[in-house]
Symmetry: C2
Subunit: 210 residues, 2 copies
Amino acid sequence: MLQHHAIVKHTAVPGRRYGTPRDQSITLKANETIYSEGEHAFAIYQVETGAVRIYRLMANGQRYILSFCGKGEWFGLETGNVRTDFAEAVCEASIRPFRTNQNAVVPVDLLHIALTNLAKAQHKQLVITEQSALKRVAAFVCEMADRHPDDPEFDMMMSRSDVADYLGLTVETVARCFTKLREKGVLCLNGKLQRVVRLLDRDALIALTI
Amino acid sequence: MLQHHAIVKHTAVPGRRYGTPRDQSITLKANETIYSEGEHAFAIYQVETGAVRIYRLMANGQRYILSFCGKGEWFGLETGNVRTDFAEAVCEASIRPFRTNQNAVVPVDLLHIALTNLAKAQHKQLVITEQSALKRVAAFVCEMADRHPDDPEFDMMMSRSDVADYLGLTVETVARCFTKLREKGVLCLNGKLQRVVRLLDRDALIALTI
DNA sequence: CGGGTGCTTGACTAGCATCAAATGTAGTGG
DNA sequence: CCACTACATTTGATGCTAGTCAAGCACCCG
């Protein structure tokens, strides 16, 4: 049984009108809600800067993060017209909405987005089921590193509990895995919250995920 | 992408014509391969009878089953035109192919299929990350039972190792969970291979998955 | 200064993987 | 019919991994 940590849902900024006639981009503060479960779905979004977490709350109050969306990635495409999950900004972020109501012509390839998200979800299944916690964390760091191909150092932005809820682990186990990766000389952690990763041995990291 | 897609607004058209005279249904023996990783993807399939397993082989030789497809479900829709996984018949089955090459007009709603499969994949993520092995097996039995809403007794058709590779467990753990479900009076197992389930206490089963 | 939050580490324990073996079933060939 | 092999399922014994509970540290802000 996972540790039961209380998840506080952050409130949306009231009075914010999404999907203005021009569909201008929206800037978000850290932990600001974009949409919530049960709401009417009238738009999909593309991340311009920052990162977004998509999650569900289980019956027992546990949070499970389905995916993180970084720059250029799409989220908010649903099977029906009701939200089945929550979307929040992980950090300061800006996103661009595209309305998907009856009359609006959506100038994007919805099938391509759906298939990309499906591929992401399937890859995540593989990551989660390869049982060792260290493997999962290594795979997570790989995933993050792939979003910054050029930078030797990058900010993950997610908290340890974000990572834990994403990988199906506990905060403590995630922390232990990060120190193990540090001890192995795979990476170092910088920043006051230890969320800035500098990869020292990319090959060793990849080797750990296999 | 199987097919370059312009902007298609997704509207449900009842009574649309599925398939062409050329795409006859195919009958398969148990464990017969439908397609393999690396092959060219030129069709998607709908299950008519029986069940199909979609899986990947990991670098270390482990098999991971992404999904089981039962009657009416679709599989084989890929992001590119190369297969990324394997498809096999779980038992005697019949499937119906639909070609998806450039020129063929695909008379099915690909977006709807992609979104349905995405929802399935997300649901499976939730099942897998709720760690208790018993919960996972209970959720699996629920999933199977939902495909037979009327029948008090149904054949799962999958072997214990199929279930194990689907849930990220070992064969032994799956067997132990099934005996635990039997001991709790939730179900009984019949058939020579103990794959026929008769639900005795559906509510108790659902309670176990929470 | 004190309280709050986030990260880390330690000690202990529950639960699953692993290894091993027994049973039951199917298929083959004598 | 039996002998033999191959496979699927089940059960037991044991060890390791990750969850749980607890405490400590660093940082921030009122």
